[in-house]
Amino acid sequence: MRLFAFARLRELLGERRDVAVADGATVGDLWEALVREEPRLTEFARGTRFARNDRLCSAEVPVRDGDEIALLPPFGGG
């Protein structure tokens, strides 16, 4: 799957990267793996939302090969 991060999360993780995920892994599992790699993500856990293939999703949604997962910090447009 391909991971996209925005704003302050992009600054921590980079704009995009390809990530291999285990069978049955969820978006939440992916987040936990990223937190282990980059502990500074912890403080953003509460405000971060996820999108799978351009649709908001919960942490319980499974990730499949070919998915695009986006990490969305709180919005600031306008």
């Binding site: 925005f6 992009r10 509460r46 919960s58 986006a70 969305l72 919005f75 600031g76 447009g77 306008g78």
Partner: protein, 144 residues
């Protein structure tokens, strides 16, 4: 309906011209503009915006659809700029034209409020002292 994320300067007059139709008796244009001070008074050099462009455009379309469902005579445009902007530049334009002013004002107000709450766009304040801070909208929801 015009729903766009753009990188270049927003031409509000051009958007108004494309939204206006012979059926319209009023047009309301709201522009969000970069101002020289942050809410806490710090001097701002400029703003930097980024977006999840696909999702942001889709959110604009959904907002426009909601306007159409409740106010079918309104013609609406939502355009947001991304990249580095200087003081006085237009970051977002919401233009609503309608047969009568009440719908035009209501649609423009609804659209900008909904955009600030729902659209995946991010703003970084760049201060004159060199510091840069990502700023959240007060109404932007947290994970449920």
């Amino acid at each position: 309906m015009i729903c766009e994320i753009v990188r270049e300067a927003i031409d509000v007059r051009a958007i108004e011209a494309s939204v206006l139709a012979p059926s319209c008796g009023g047009i309301v244009s709201f522009c969000g503009v970069v101002r020289e001070r942050a809410d806490d008074g710090r001097e701002v050099e400029g703003l930097y915006y980024e977006a999840h462009e696909g999702m942001a455009r889709a959110s604009f379309m959904a907002i426009a659809e909601e306007v159409r469902a409740t106010m079918p005579e309104v013609r609406l445009a939502i355009v947001h700029r991304v990249g580095a902007l200087s003081i006085g530049e237009v970051a977002v334009a919401v233009v609503a034209a309608a047969p009568h002013r009440a719908e035009a004002f209501a649609a423009a107000r609804f659209a900008i409020d909904a955009l600030k709450e729902r659209s995946p766009i991010w703003k970084q304040e760049r201060y004159c002292d060199g510091e840069r801070v990502w700023v959240e909208n007060r109404c932007s929801g947290e994970r449920q």
